[in-house]
Symmetry: C2
Subunit: 344 residues, 2 copies
């Protein structure tokens, strides 16, 4: 298996990427293709003992940074012969020189580059971003978390099919419970988009459990939660911010007296466990759903450990033939939903 | 001042309500009108020493419960001569026999009852629900959190004007910073609704600080955050659920070993402070914005202490003439925004 790692993705790149490439190739026995400025990457590889690893460097002198956006970003992503690490890396997947691409870089940049260079799966209109949310009983796949601020019901149906397949094939959930994010659990609750999406999901043959709210999501009652990219992004950012607020307030309060300071010291293992639960680096990386190729995006703050986890996510998807199974599911489910619509 | 308290609102009603009415009337020196089944309320009042208090009972034999919804609820709310505690209580405000109505009951029921019986302020198309979110530096007013799942830009402008006035007059914020909830801070980010609302807020004369995400909201960078009722509800429910998840996981982890158990015991005061911060009962009650009358809604889990805080919120709004100042602000700001639109 050959996995491409964008050497210029994470906030501290390329140090963590070089380290992760060496570790992952030794751990998994795969070839890891590091894409970025070749001379610097080779120099860094030589500096650490990488002789036992199967790391190959492919040159890409340009970089899409976290500051790139809008039209300029779109042009960089689309341009034929583009030399950004994302374009060069994704082209390797396109030309079947590698099975998957992993980056911890600019999410919009990865999305645009993948969209323009790989296109979408047949039957899919829009690619979607996914994230794994920690819950009381594991993780929940939430999609879309930001690629499509305005969606149609058909888009949400497509996201649900793909999210479900991802949960099943890669996350190992046998019959994923799919929830529709809404402002109330009862059927009939929701905005126009949710109300129109509900019957499509009911008819899809998916294990649709109806509308869900925050408490079902974080309580672990759904394996996949589907929503438009605006609401999904609000959900993601709010969840991160509330977690941060509680942790910061707790730290302030614990530092308030000698008694609580000692308590905090003793309770440290418990806090470490909570921190681990909330750390996106532990969950690996999330795929771009709907792209005609395997592209995984990790968190910008990824260190080498998080990047190895990201590579692990990608290789699990390759092994499970995620792309093929999504394609099959899309054809079957969309037909089922369409037949029901026609009968109705 | 006369404040009406719905005796049949909270989950444990009417015990907490009777207690709160007596305490509030003694604390504030106001007349508190308890609305509900008169015989039972009078019996409970006699059982506690309420002779020094100015609590009056008004009979309302029927109740809107947490199970009431949909068309049946709308009919109950609208019916002339309705004998639900919400209808009787809100009619007292309508007939100027009281200055404000407070309930910890069914939010949809209070909204519908207030809407049908009091109507909306001139210039306002939709009433909005509000909530106070805890932040790093105090509280943030978020509106709408669920009344209107589908909104137009004009609605969000109206919510912003009313939310700002509420923050200024009742929450004591001099020049409230108003943010627009979006999936990215940069201008131009957002769904269609946000993109169309942005210029209206810019032209309104409000202290508009642009798009905000979870980190600005919970970081305390905005005093008012405006959004549609669908996204606002997602935000509210997700925030509550994440808080619950972290607290439950932390409790489990702390109980995991003797060391962490002792740590938890010592750190208890810090945890109590976090619990207080996350307790909606501490923040009092939030007004229905846009209703032509003062109606405040507290949390269903309110105890007597929370209900006294809810009454405090309502009387602050009466003292500050919130209704009059909202009306003036709506006229001024809407005209300003309209003029700019016409020039453009």
């Amino acid at each position: 298996m050959r996995i491409v790692l964008d050497a210029m993705g994470s906030d501290d790149c390329p140090g963590p990427e070089v380290q992760a490439a060496v570790e992952a190739s030794q751990l998994f026995g795969d070839e890891i293709i590091l894409v970025g400025p070749a001379a610097e990457l080779q120099r860094r590889l030589n500096a650490i003992n990488s002789s036992q690893s199967r790391v190959r460097v492919v040159d890409a002198p340009e970089t899409i940074t976290m500051e790139d956006k809008g039209l300029a970003l779109a042009l960089k992503a689309k341009r034929k012969g583009s030399k950004t690490s994302m374009a060069v890396g994704i082209d390797l997947v396109k030309n079947q020189q590698a099975e998957a691409f992993v980056t911890a870089g600019n999410t919009g940049g990865a999305l645009a580059t993948a969209y323009y260079r790989l296109g979408v799966l047949p039957g899919v209109e829009r690619p979607a971003l996914t994230a794994l949310f920690p819950t009381r009983s594991g993780y929940c796949v939430v999609t879309d978390i930001g690629a499509n601020p305005d969606c149609k019901p058909e888009h949400l149906l497509q996201f649900a099919i793909m999210g479900s397949e991802y949960a099943r094939r890669v996350r190992g959930v046998e019959n994923p419970r799919v929830g529709l994010l809404s402002n109330g659990e009862e059927p009939g609750k929701g905005n126009e988009l949710v109300k129109e999406t509900y019957p499509l999901l009911e008819a899809s043959g998916l294990n649709f459990i109806g509308n869900v709210e925050g408490k079902e999501l974080f309580g672990g009652h759904a394996d996949v939660v589907v929503t438009d990219g605006f609401s999904g992004n609000i959900l993601l950012k709010a969840s991160e911010a509330v977690g941060k607020l509680i942790v910061e307030e707790l730290r302030d309060q614990l530092m308030g007296s000698t008694r609580t300071k000692i308590g905090a010291l003793l309770a440290k293992p418990a806090f470490a466990e909570i921190k681990r639960m909330m750390d996106p680096g532990e969950t690996g990386a999330a795929p771009l759903l709907g792209i005609n190729g395997l592209v995984f995006i990790g968190h910008g703050r990824s260190d080498a450990h998080a990047l190895v986890n990201a590579i692990r996510s990608a290789r699990q998807a390759v092994e499970a033939n995620l792309l093929g199974s999504m394609q099959t599911a899309i054809q079957q489910r969309l037909n089922a939903a369409q037949n029901v619509q026609e009968v109705a």
